[in-house]
């Protein structure tokens, strides 16, 4: 379905090249549900943006359904069936929730149809359908609307960048159900960037990315226990202290 081949991505920072992604190769099978996890700043979001065309890799190739799409624009990739849910949903003055869902489906839809997508993400459609996607909505509401637009797209490959970020606990339960349902229905391949155990738990395969490289990759059964066991303190001072006390 999707193949990333030796992808590297470098940015210029104070005149020097700084590598964000280093030679990453990854394949997503048709209908597969892959979770990408790893420490913050490890390059996960950049990789997602490279898949959907927001960033262009410095080197390497991207193949989608066997075709080289490395040079394709965001629009071309979207039209070919790649969807993307932003980590920070974009706000629009004047564009309503219904407008956005209509644009996502790519055809004229009834209010009832648009409402169905909102209900899936746990929003009472009647309260939201005619509201503008602007600052009057809370972070959690915007996030759920963002996810509803991706469901509405019925993409063959959907990429979600930290869908849990900024979502409250109540919404989180709904969100998990959304992903569990996607997993059951398998209408397309899914890539989710997440830190949440319950989301990782819905994946077929987990890829751990750290320092711009694939640190580990394998089935959920293989990787998830390792991640949960790896309870080493993140703070090196604390780690040293623990070690001293252990002595």
């Amino acid at each position: 379905m999707l193949e990333l081949k030796n992808i590297s991505y470098t940015v210029k920072e104070t005149g020097e090249d700084k590598g964000i992604i280093h030679d990453v190769s990854l394949t997503i099978q048709e209908g597969e549900f892959v979770a990408i996890t790893g420490p913050n700043g490890g390059g996960k979001s950049t990789l997602a943006k490279i898949i959907v065309g927001i960033e262009k890799p410095t080197s390497g190739k991207i193949y989608y359904k066997g075709e080289d799409i490395t040079e394709w624009s965001i629009t071309e990739r979207a039209k070919a069936g790649i969807g993307f849910a932003f980590q920070q949903p974009v706000r629009f003055k004047g564009i309503t929730v219904k407008d956005l869902i209509t644009l996502a489906t790519g055809e004229k839809i009834s209010t009832t149809d648009a409402c169905a997508y909102l209900s899936e993400v746990g929003l009472c459609a009647r309260d939201y359908i005619n509201r503008e996607v602007n600052g009057s909505l809370s972070g959690g509401e915007l996030k759920r609307i963002e996810i509803a637009t991706i469901i509405a797209r019925k993409a063959q490959l959907s990429v979600f960048d930290e869908p849990e970020a900024g979502i409250d606990l109540w919404s989180f339960q709904n969100l998990i159900r959304v992903f569990e349902k996607m997993q059951e229905e398998r209408t397309g391949s899914i890539v989710i960037i997440s830190h949440q155990e319950r989301i990782l738990n819905t994946a077929d395969r987990i890829v751990v990315i750290a320092d711009g490289r694939i640190a580990e990759e394998g089935s959920r059964e293989e990787i998830l226990p390792k991640l949960l066991d790896a309870s080493a303190p993140a703070c090196s001072v604390l780690q040293e202290k623990t070690e001293r006390q252990g002595r």
Binding site: I54, T75, A78, K79, G83, F84, F92, L100, L103, G106
Partner: protein, 305 residues
């Protein structure tokens, strides 16, 4: 009416034919039709060009259409229209001016509208300005709207100038008595070398009166816009003005707010934001399958909707 005039009527009043209810149609500087109703009377002024519109107290759910259409090049049309809205009346007034200038001379319409809202009267005022025609002659509109609001009256103004007016200098003045509320939504889009100046002056004189002035505009190509808003809080009142503008190409927008509180309980706010379309908005719509140009158009349409 000929086809061009019909098209202008559609653009400024959203209707194809003669409107329902009370109306006064002005075409090329002359009266072209009028209808009055039991509750709404329209009388031609005798001292200067224009009409007086009298709406009886308690009139409910009626509308008045007063479109002005100009399709001759070189006309300079000036009218004074006065609206007297009786106590507790609740009406919709649709004004608007369309100029089709296919010639090389300037065509100009200046509509001076004065509203007198009696106690408890409610008015929804819709005004659209539109220009068309491929001549070199300028299409100019300099409207003035003066609103006097008595106790507990309410006025909502929706004004739009979306296309084809080369130069506009609009002035809106209002004074509000106790408990009166004024809400203004203005939309302006300029392109080419157009110039639009819009000037609001609101005196919040009465206790618990309030005004909300919201302007959304898009300045494309080499066009220029100036937004001035002056709100004076002379009593316990609420005043809010907001100028939100999208810049494209070489467009230029100035927002000049002035809020003056002359009373301890006056609460006044001004907000202004001017800038190009956020890159992330375009990217988001591109991820939904729109091209960059389609995304831009969608954002502008939504913004001015």
């Amino acid at each position: 009416m000929d086809a061009i005039q019909k098209q202008l009527l559609e653009e400024v009043a959203g209707i194809h034919e003669i409107p329902q209810g009370a109306y006064n149609l002005r075409v090329n500087g002359e009266g072209a039709g009028r209808n009055t109703t039991e509750h709404i009377d329209i009388v031609t002024k005798t001292d200067k060009p224009g009409i007086d519109i009298h709406i009886r107290p308690g009139t409910k759910n009626e509308s008045v259409h007063i479109p002005v259409l100009l399709s001759q090049s070189g006309l300079d049309d000036l009218v004074y229209n006065d609206f007297y809205i009786g106590e507790d009346a609740d009406v919709t007034i649709v004004a608007g001016c369309g100029i089709h200038n296919a010639g090389s001379e300037r065509t100009k319409h200046d509509g001076i509208h004065t509203f007198y809202l009696e106690k408890g009267a409610r008015v929804k005022y819709i005004e659209k300005h539109y220009g068309s025609g491929d001549g070199n002659g300028e299409r100019v509109m300099n409207p003035q709207t003066i609103v006097h609001m008595e106790k507990d009256s309410y006025m909502e103004m929706d004004t739009a100038q979306i296309k084809g007016v080369d130069s506009t200098d609009r002035l809106t003045k209002a004074d509000l008595a106790d408990g009166a509320t004024l809400v203004i939504h203005e939309k302006i889009m300029t392109h080419g070398k157009q110039y639009a100046k819009t000037d609001f002056e609101v005196d919040l004189n009465g206790e618990n009166c309030g005004a909300n002035v919201i302007s959304r505009s898009v300045a494309k190509e080499d066009s220029r816009q100036v937004f001035l808003s002056k709100i004076n809080g002379n009593n316990k009142c609420m005043g809010h003005s907001e100028c939100d503008a999208i810049l494209m190409d070489n467009g230029s927008v100035s927002a000049i707010p002035e809020i003056t509180a002359n009373h301890l309980e006056a609460s006044l706010i001004h907000e202004a934001a001017i800038g190009k379309i956020a890159g992330e908005q375009i990217i988001k719509l591109m991820t939904l399958g729109l091209t960059e140009a389609e995304a831009e158009a969608q954002i502008v349409n939504g913004f001015l909707k």
